[in-house]
């Protein structure tokens, strides 16, 4: 087990370094240069030069990479956003808790709904209930996230006035949580797609589990269908869910970009799209970097959990 752990962590570190290199390359291939982006059309060549010197764009690319890495390691400095006059890290710091709230709550909601739904679909396999649910999850799966969000706003906020048209705008997590009505639509929108995914996963995972040899054995030994279902199939079908959960960690930090943007929810996803449309490249690269690191961590945790649960994996 420790051997596996060490190997996995080692891998993760290599990947992190790769991510650093990737984000560095991306940040340096801005056409037109960062100076023009920050200073605007009135920049004289002299002002551009001053900016470049101040931000180390005038030294060799290797030196720049070294400065970039050192900044990250030394003070976790990911760059500076001129549009906000704040460092990328402090901007992201402020947003992550809110994204955690949104995705955490919606994942929870999704699990609570999806697991029973998946089981139901297996139990009522090939009956109308199964078909309807399968159909619904197909549609839910095919619906682009932004379309679902916009439709929800149209129907429930604008036409019916049951909810407000955008998420709570408070800057603090407490502020956001104290306005639960405003969270309903964003959570549901984000959860709907996760429910569709999870319940399909549950369904096929359980159906696969049901074809396993140990199920036949259990049945042969006279176990009741319920016992077979819950004690054996479900437990084993839940294993990939662990992996899935681990892999949703990047979604947590990635901020469900689309949902936040549609509902104007002040989390990391909205920060990313704003940075994209404003051409605030340092901020964009910064959020990408954080999302990537979160993914690496998520994968690592998922793999370790999977190894704990399924010993066969450790020797792969």
């Amino acid at each position: 087990m420790t051997g596996y752990l060490i190997r996995r962590v080692g891998q993760a570190i290599v990947v992190v370094f790769g991510v650093v290199l990737l984000t560095f390359i991306l940040s340096r291939i801005i056409p037109g240069g960062a100076a023009r982006a920050a200073l605007g059309p009135k920049a004289t060549p002299l002002q551009i030069h001053t900016f470049n010197v101040a931000n180390h764009y005038n030294v060799s690319i290797y030196q720049q990479f070294w400065i970039y890495c050192w900044d990250i390691v030394r003070h976790f400095y990911l760059g500076y956003s001129y549009k906000y006059n704040q460092s990328v890290v402090s901007l992201i710091e402020g947003r992550i808790p809110k994204t955690l709230v949104l995705v955490g709550l919606s994942t929870l909601f999704a699990l609570i709904v999806a697991i029973p739904l998946g089981v139901l679909q297996v139990v009522r396999r090939n009956t109308p209930v199964d078909y309807i649910l399968t159909g619904a999850s197909f549609v839910g799966y095919a619906m682009p996230a932004f379309l679902l969000g916009e439709l929800l706003i149209l129907w429930f906020a604008i036409d019916l006035h049951w909810f407000q048209f955008e998420a709570p705008q408070s800057t603090s997590v407490i502020g956001i949580l104290s306005d639960p009505a405003g969270l309903v639509l964003p959570i549901f929108s984000l959860a709907a797609l996760t429910i569709a995914a999870f319940s399909r996963y549950m369904r096929s995972s359980m159906m696969e589990a049901l074809t396993e040899d140990y199920i036949r054995t259990a049945r042969a030994k006279g176990a009741s269908p319920t016992r077979v279902l819950f004690r054996h199939a479900l437990r084993n079908a839940l294993i990939p869910i662990i992996t899935l959960l681990g892999l949703t960690l990047p979604a947590i930090v990635g901020g469900a970009i689309i949902t936040e943007t549609v509902f104007n929810y002040p989390g990391m996803g909205l920060l990313t799209t704003n940075a994209a449309t404003q051409n605030d490249v340092p901020l964009l690269i910064g959020t990408t970097f954080i999302a990537a690191i979160a993914t690496v961590v998520g994968n690592l945790i998922a793999d370790v959990l999977y190894a704990v649960v399924d010993p066969r994996v450790r020797y792969a």
């Binding site: 240069g33 982006a37 059309p41 009135k42 001053t50 006059n85 800057t171 943007t261 509902f263």
Partner: protein, 640 residues
């Protein structure tokens, strides 16, 4: 309610840059000469809180007036800093961009000695900490400018402070002595406009120091010595080094946004307002400064600025009555405005959800255009030569149907550009000749005739070819095929460019359009020549043109002189150079330069889209809106 709709901000030909985008989104347009509606006509009351909408994604983020270019925006200056820290001279009077002496900190500058000596007498203003706004406060700013000019937004080589032989303070008088000839108007509007006096309380290099403890604020201009190369400035004297230290300290403090409202540094103000609340999301609260010495004291009790992440969020806030002064996003304009004369904008009926507001619109102090690269190697080396031909530029401009685009794309909220000096709002700088109309009004017949007369075979809908090299200016057989890259992400820019493309196609001018992000387009539109490795760009439109701030005098030395820093297309014309020199160094008014520029077409003029402002019907004193987008909440009041 799509928070992404703010990307549609670009409807009014604006790109996402700090200066440009924010300006067009500013909740103020200029009042037209017909006068915007004044709205409230009830009895004036005092007190009350006004809620002002910041532009979407445009929250103030810099408080120190000595700002570098990346922080130099309407949001930071006109809607934030200038309410607290008055510039030496205030520009923008009513609906004109003129010098506003009542709001300035000094009396009118007196030019003598052939315009080379300027005497500025300070008015008896006080800082909120008891200091007087003295001539030395002006010298403090000049000293800092000498050492940190490379970090000053408005610096251009050869201009202030390089053109000063000396600056002396004596009593409440500052005397500037120039080392070169300068046009007095130009100097007042473009050079003196860059000065904001700073209090001695800022003359420190560490927290807790006593006011005026650094040499920077107390030394004379002569004592600050530096050595300069073309790209560096190194402080030499102790006073100069002290300026570097003070600058480092102050900019460091300016990076701490959460401390803006609590720092004793920024609490020292000479304007009508002082800051009581500021957060990183953009919420700003100001209350009247009881020590303000200016002519109009605030009647309101509180002035609050609200941030919005999207146009639609702002619109919904307006509709819910949470904002008193805001703007209406283009997609929510329910009926077009009508144009009266060249500049008059008569707003249409307001959006039904905004029944409690008056809608007002006016011009801003800018021109809109896109450059052509006169040195372009495109189109087989002929693009640059084609642009060189005046007849081509004329035909090209004559196919741009500004009135129609203003009506259909900007829904009537727009004004045209005829030349290098804004024709709207009506101003004293505009030439009377141009106010008669566009020298190149839309005329496809004439455009085609012009091309034909100059040796082109005109194929409407296709691509023209040159049949007579001696007349075309390019080899025979050259196709009239050109490239244009414009900024993406703006619906109105899209529509405008596509409409113009179809228009040019009528005369067989085939324009290949590509889009690019704002920085791509800007990055490509750089002056290049035979020594450059790549000079293939032909035309580039970043959507924003040029906004005249702090260079309020539209004299063109940054844009159209040979070798000027922002002369993207490398336009070079001896007559233009001497006309510009006459306006900046000689005694000429802008007239001749303006007419020449309009007729010579150094760039292709484009219509300007404007944002309409919504003002609470119960709030008075807001109009006429100022074309420099200054706001003066001290003149606003609620009516019963």
């Amino acid at each position: 309610m799509n928070s992404l709709r703010w990307t549609r901000q670009g409807r009014h030909a604006v790109a996402a840059s700090a200066v440009v985008a924010v300006l067009a989104l500013a909740a103020c347009g200029g009042g037209s000469s017909a006068g915007g509606t004044t709205g409230a006509t009830g009895q004036a009351t005092s007190g009350g809180t006004v809620y002002f909408a910041e532009g979407a994604q445009a929250a103030p983020n810099y408080i120190f007036p000595f700002a570098a270019l990346q922080y130099f925006s309407t949001t930071n200056l006109n809607q934030f800093q200038m309410l607290m820290y008055r510039p030496l001279y205030w520009f923008g009077k009513g609906a004109t961009p003129d010098l506003n002496l009542p709001l300035s900190l000094a009396n009118a500058p007196k030019y003598s000695d052939g315009g080379k000596t300027i005497t500025v007498t300070m008015k008896p203003y006080k800082w909120s900490n008891g200091e007087t706004v003295t001539a030395q406060d002006v010298v403090f700013w000049m000293n800092m400018m000498k050492v940190e000019k490379l970090n000053w937004a408005g610096y251009a080589a050869g201009t202030i402070p390089d053109d000063l032989a000396s600056v002396t303070a004596s009593g409440n008088t500052v005397t500037f002595t120039l080392n070169t000839n300068a046009n007095s108007n130009w100097y007042t509007y473009n050079e003196l406009s860059q000065i904001t006096p700073m209090p001695m309380a800022w003359d420190i290099s560490a927290a807790g120091q006593k006011s005026g403890s650094e040499a920077c604020g107390t030394a004379s201009f002569q004592d600050v010595t530096v050595t300069s190369t073309s790209s560096t400035v190194t402080p030499v004297s102790a006073a100069a080094k002290s300026c570097a230290a003070v600058y480092t300290y102050l900019t460091g403090q300016a990076k701490k946004l959460s401390s803006y409202a609590t720092s004793p540094l920024w609490a020292v103000v000479d304007g009508p307002w002082k800051l009581t609340h500021f957060d990183t999301s953009g919420n700003v609260t100001m209350v009247p400064n009881p020590k303000y010495s200016g002519p109009v004291k605030p009647k309101l009790a509180k002035f609050v600025e609200l941030p919005f992440t999207s146009d639609s969020a702002e619109f919904n806030a307006l509709a819910a009555g949470k904002v008193d002064v805001g703007y209406v996003p283009p997609q929510d304009i329910s009926s077009n405005a009508t144009t009266t004369g060249t500049c008059g904008i008569k707003p249409g009926a307001n959006n039904p959800r905004l029944a409690n507001y008056n809608i007002v619109a006016g011009s801003t102090w800018q021109i809109n255009y896109f450059p052509e690269n006169f040195n372009s190697t495109g189109n087989g080396g002929n693009a640059g030569k084609i642009f060189d031909q005046l007849y081509f530029r004329q035909a090209f401009q004559m196919l741009v149907n500004q009135p129609v685009y203003i009506q259909h794309i900007f829904k009537g909220y727009g004004v045209p550009t005829y030349g290098p000096v804004p024709v709207c709002p009506q101003n004293s700088f505009a030439s009377s000749e141009l106010s008669l109309g566009n020298p190149y009004a839309y005329n496809p017949t004439k455009a085609k005739a012009l091309l034909k007369a100059n040796g082109w075979t005109v194929k409407p809908g296709g691509t023209d070819t040159c049949n007579d090299a001696s007349k075309c200016g390019v080899p025979a057989g050259t196709p009239l095929d050109l490239d244009l890259q414009y900024v993406s992400g703006s619906v109105s820019e899209d529509q405008l460019m596509q409409a113009e493309k179809s228009s040019w196609a009528q005369a067989g001018i085939h324009v290949n359009m590509t889009t690019g992000t704002f920085d791509t387009v800007l990055g490509n539109a750089v002056p290049c020549g035979s020594s450059s490795s790549n000079c293939s760009w032909q035309m580039a439109n970043w959507g924003g043109g040029w906004i005249f701030a702090p260079d309020y005098y539209p004299s063109g030395e940054d844009l159209f002189q040979t070798g000027a820093g922002s002369n993207s297309g490398s336009y070079s014309d001896k007559t233009m150079d001497s006309l510009i020199d006459a306006t900046t160094k000689g005694n000429s008014s802008l007239s001749q330069y303006e007419v020449y520029g309009a007729k010579q077409l150094p760039v292709i003029w484009q219509p300007i889209g404007l944002t309409a402002t919504e003002i609470n019907k119960k709030l008075a004193g807001v109009t006429p809106l100022n074309p420099l987008t200054n706001i003066n909440p001290e003149t606003w009041y609620f009516t019963k």
